[in-house]
């Protein structure tokens, strides 16, 4: 679930970021639209999507969680990539064209490698948020057991107080998180290649 939504969000978010930064000016509306998913309270987005999906008579499950998660994930990816693009030297794109590269080649060989660390960082952030996200998943999951995400399981357990099972589960989740984090740090440094 997290993998799929991260993949979609990374693609859309990166394109969006480049598109926005290519503009000389953009209205407040566009800015607000991109920014909104990050600050809108989870609970509001959750009930909005719940109402929306039930109105469309959509069967809810993993796919609806994915649809929902991409909304805020793409906003986070976009903001991370945009931050990188702010300091991006656009003259290297021109240099590439000047040396004979087509727009596609330029993107593949120049733009993408340079912003790759930011794209990966954005994807990791999205992935972490997605794995972690509880409220929206809770509302858009429907009834099926198959679409229970880990946080939903944990929430259900915590409500009954402290048990050895949660302690064990918590330890495992923490270990996985820290491993992923360390990996991402290593990876990031490797790509920047200092």
């Amino acid at each position: 679930m997290a993998v799929v939504s991260t993949a979609i969000a990374t693609l859309l978010g990166t394109l969006l970021a480049i598109g926005v930064e290519m503009r000389r000016q953009y209205g407040m509306g566009l800015e607000a639209l991109i920014f909104a998913p990050m600050i809108i309270p989870d609970i509001v987005l959750a009930i909005a999507l719940l109402s929306f999906f039930s109105m469309l008579n959509l069967t809810m499950g993993l796919h609806t969680i994915i649809l929902a998660h991409v909304v805020f994930n793409l906003a986070f990816v976009c903001s991370v990539v945009r931050a990188r693009l702010k300091s991006f030297d656009w003259s290297i794109v021109e240099a590439s064209a000047d040396l004979g590269a087509s727009a596609l080649t330029t993107f593949r060989r120049v733009t993408l490698p340079v912003i790759a660390p930011a794209v990966i960082a954005g994807a990791l952030l999205a992935f972490t948020l997605s794995v972690d996200e509880f409220i929206i998943a809770f509302f858009t999951a429907g009834a099926g057991r198959a679409s229970t995400t880990l946080p939903m399981q944990i929430y259900a357990m915590i409500r009954f107080g402290i048990t050895p099972e949660i302690n064990a589960l918590a330890t495992i989740v923490m270990a996985v998180s820290i491993t992923a984090l360390t990996l991402s740090q290593r990876l990031n440094r490797g790509i920047i290649g200092q």
Binding site: I92, E94, A95, D98, L99, G100, V114, G193
Partner: protein, 357 residues
């Protein structure tokens, strides 16, 4: 020597950005194998003109003919013209070698040919020891050479250089000016350089164009422009000039204090019109021995020793600004002057240029 062939003809080219006219009907011919400089203050349109030659801007009007073919609307990656960017625009994620190879890979040349051409250009630009470094590990001068190598390796018909030495410190700049000239001679490619530094274009260019507010003011050899500037702006912009404001007469300018400055008056100036007489600092003699057409006295306000010469600021009744006088160190030794001294200045009528005010 035969008449040099025109490589690039800029024909009544104009470019507007919204309401602003950046380039206003400029026509210029750039000849095969010359080192051409576009010079002007910032905002004069020189960079816009250069970007139109590279293909990053499309002119609103006019033609750009390369070898007789209009390339004004050819995209940058289809032009045999390369640009050396002001920021160098080196690809930060590629080594020096990869940066230089990039352009040849775009031409889909065989690997062996790419290798040999890259090796050759790295040798010419003395970059062989740095071939495997990333741009961030290079000094400013080295980055500049990589940018140059990356553009030159494609053997463009025309190499454009946007303020190529702007990011270097003064001493390195002097060395690179000569280096660029040497390289240009060696590779036999036409160079067009954009600069706001008049000294740089005087040193490097075979011919230069002075631009202001999107218009071409003068296009000639550095010597001709220095000695015979087309108007007051060019006279002021190129080198250092002393100006004496006044009114035109039949054989010179009458200064505000009534003194007469002898010189050749341009035909367009009718007597009595506001005019300005000018003379270069190095043409003025201190305590002139013989007869000179123009003469004045003044007080030394400041002097600066420059090694080879001595520069004096002399307050005279001729103009509100002090005169700048350059005398050789020898001359200064023969008759030392100090701040506050009264001095006599003299210069010939032939060294006077008169412009419309």
């Amino acid at each position: 020597m035969s008449e040099p062939r025109t490589l690039l003809a800029i024909d009544h080219v104009s470019k507007k950005f919204g309401q602003v006219t950046a380039v206003d009907g400029i026509s210029l011919d750039i000849r095969e194998n010359e080192f051409f400089a576009l010079l002007g203050p910032s905002g004069c349109g020189k960079t816009t003109l250069l970007r139109m030659l590279a293909g990053f801007e499309t002119p609103n009007d006019g033609r750009i003919l390369l070898d007789g073919h209009d390339i004004a609307r050819t995209p940058p990656n289809k032009r045999p013209v390369n640009l050396m960017f002001q920021s160098y625009a080196l690809f930060p994620h590629m080594s020096v070698r990869a940066n230089v190879s990039y352009g040849l890979e775009m031409e889909r040349l065989p690997a062996a040919e790419i290798r040999s051409r890259v090796d050759a250009i790295l040798a010419t630009t003395e970059l062989v020891p740095f071939a495997d470094r990333k741009p961030e590990q290079l000094s400013g001068g080295q980055k500049q050479r990589v940018a140059l190598a990356r553009a030159l390796v494609k053997r463009p018909r025309l190499l454009l250089l946007d303020e190529p030495l702007g990011a270097l410190d003064k001493k390195l700049r002097g060395a690179m000016q000569l280096e660029l000239k040497r390289l240009q001679h060696e590779v036999g490619i036409t160079f067009v350089i954009v600069t706001h530094d008049q000294e740089e274009s005087l040193v490097m260019a075979d011919r230069m164009a002075v631009l202001k507010d999107g218009k071409l003011l003068q296009c000639d050899t550095p010597h001709a422009i220095y000695e015979h500037p087309a108007d007051r702006f060019v006279a002021d912009f190129i080198g250092v000039m002393n100006f004496v404001p006044g009114k035109a007469s039949s054989d010179g300018v009458v200064a505000v204090n009534g003194a007469r400055i002898a010189g050749k008056v341009p035909a367009a100036l009718s007597p009595g019109a506001p005019a300005v007489a000018s003379v270069r600092p190095e043409r003025i003699r201190l305590f002139p021995s013989g007869e000179t057409a123009n003469r004045t006295t003044g007080t030394v306000e400041a002097l600066a020793y420059h090694g080879l010469d001595l520069q004096l600021h002399v307050r005279t009744p001729l103009s509100p600004k002090p005169f700048l006088v350059r005398v050789t160190a020898d001359a200064a030794d023969r008759r030392p002057v100090a701040s506050g001294d009264q001095v006599e200045l003299g210069w010939d009528a032939a060294d006077v240029r008169i412009f419309e005010e």
